[in-house]
């Protein structure tokens, strides 16, 4: 199938409409603005080259995101499958931000955890996600930001579903731990004596 000017016009419209989502996803996957822009540009170029293989154009969105994710993962799958031991030894999967906000010795009333979320700036959340080690950030991004099923994530990363499940639990635990540390720094986790908590 050859592509004509009408195809290119359609493609341009689709891509520009998807650009914020493509960029947001790329930003979370790479953890870097410059890398994210390059990844999106490369994904758009690859989508155009392969457009004649997309038989149902109403699937353009999912197809393009898959191209973007696969491009990001090229050369990284081995690293994703075998992260360093120290990362795998982390026990943060048990960490619960909600439980920290409900410790009885904290001076809280109302819904402290909701207040925290209401006051949490986007940049602080981005910083916490970006700081996650790659093997966790990618799984959290695919599950919590792209809303992919465990099975889809397992297929994309070439990992068993059980590994996806445990990486997700650990990644979310690490993320909540980072957000708790941010809450403490922001003065949202204070003991009755006024001293900041210093929890592990």
């Amino acid at each position: 199938m050859s592509l004509d000017a009408a195809d290119r016009g359609w493609f341009a419209g689709q891509v520009l409409g998807l650009l914020p989502e493509l960029l947001g996803t790329a930003r979370r996957l790479t953890g870097s603005s410059a890398d994210a822009e390059d990844l999106v540009a490369e994904a758009v170029a690859r989508a155009w080259i392969n457009l004649d293989t997309l038989h149902q154009r109403d699937r353009f969105r999912g197809w393009t995101f898959r191209i973007l994710t696969n491009l990001f993962l090229e050369g990284r799958r081995a690293e994703m499958a075998h992260p360093t031991e120290s990362l795998l030894d982390d026990v943060s999967e048990q960490f619960s931000l909600f439980e920290r906000f409900h410790q009885p010795f904290l001076l809280w009333w109302g819904d402290p955890e909701r207040e925290f979320l209401d006051r949490l700036f986007r940049e602080d959340l981005e910083r916490a996600v970006d700081a996650l080690p790659d093997c966790y950030r990618v799984v959290v991004t695919l599950a919590d930001i792209k809303d992919l099923a465990y099975k889809e994530i397992a297929e994309l990363l070439g990992l068993p579903i059980g590994t996806v499940r445990s990486r997700l639990a650990r990644g979310r635990g690490l993320l909540q731990k980072a957000l708790w540390e941010h809450a403490v720094d922001a003065g949202l986790g204070r003991t009755p004596s006024g001293t900041r908590t210093n929890l592990p």
Partner: protein, 81 residues
């Protein structure tokens, strides 16, 4: 007689992530929903986790700078037919 459809808070919390991810089997899903309907603590925890995920999901969209949008636009215009 024990009722297998009744679970403890500990069991409920161990199922919570998969429940919110839509990964539970129908029976476990229904069992957890029954627990959440009668347990204020677990319900609050579930609501918090849901709100946090909603905030996270919002990070999946980022407005491109005008320079980057122009870069993509001009790149597409140069694509050969």
């Amino acid at each position: 007689m024990s009722d297998a459809s009744i679970i403890t808070c500990e069991e409920a919390l161990s199922l919570l992530a998969e429940y919110l991810d839509g990964e539970l089997e129908q029976v476990e899903h229904a069992t957890l929903e029954r627990h959440l309907a009668i347990c204020r603590g677990c319900f609050s925890r579930a609501e918090f986790e849901r709100l946090l995920r909603k905030r996270l999901a919002s990070l999946g969209s980022e407005p491109p700078s005008p320079v980057f949008a122009d870069r993509i636009r001009s790149m597409v215009e140069r694509f050969t037919l």
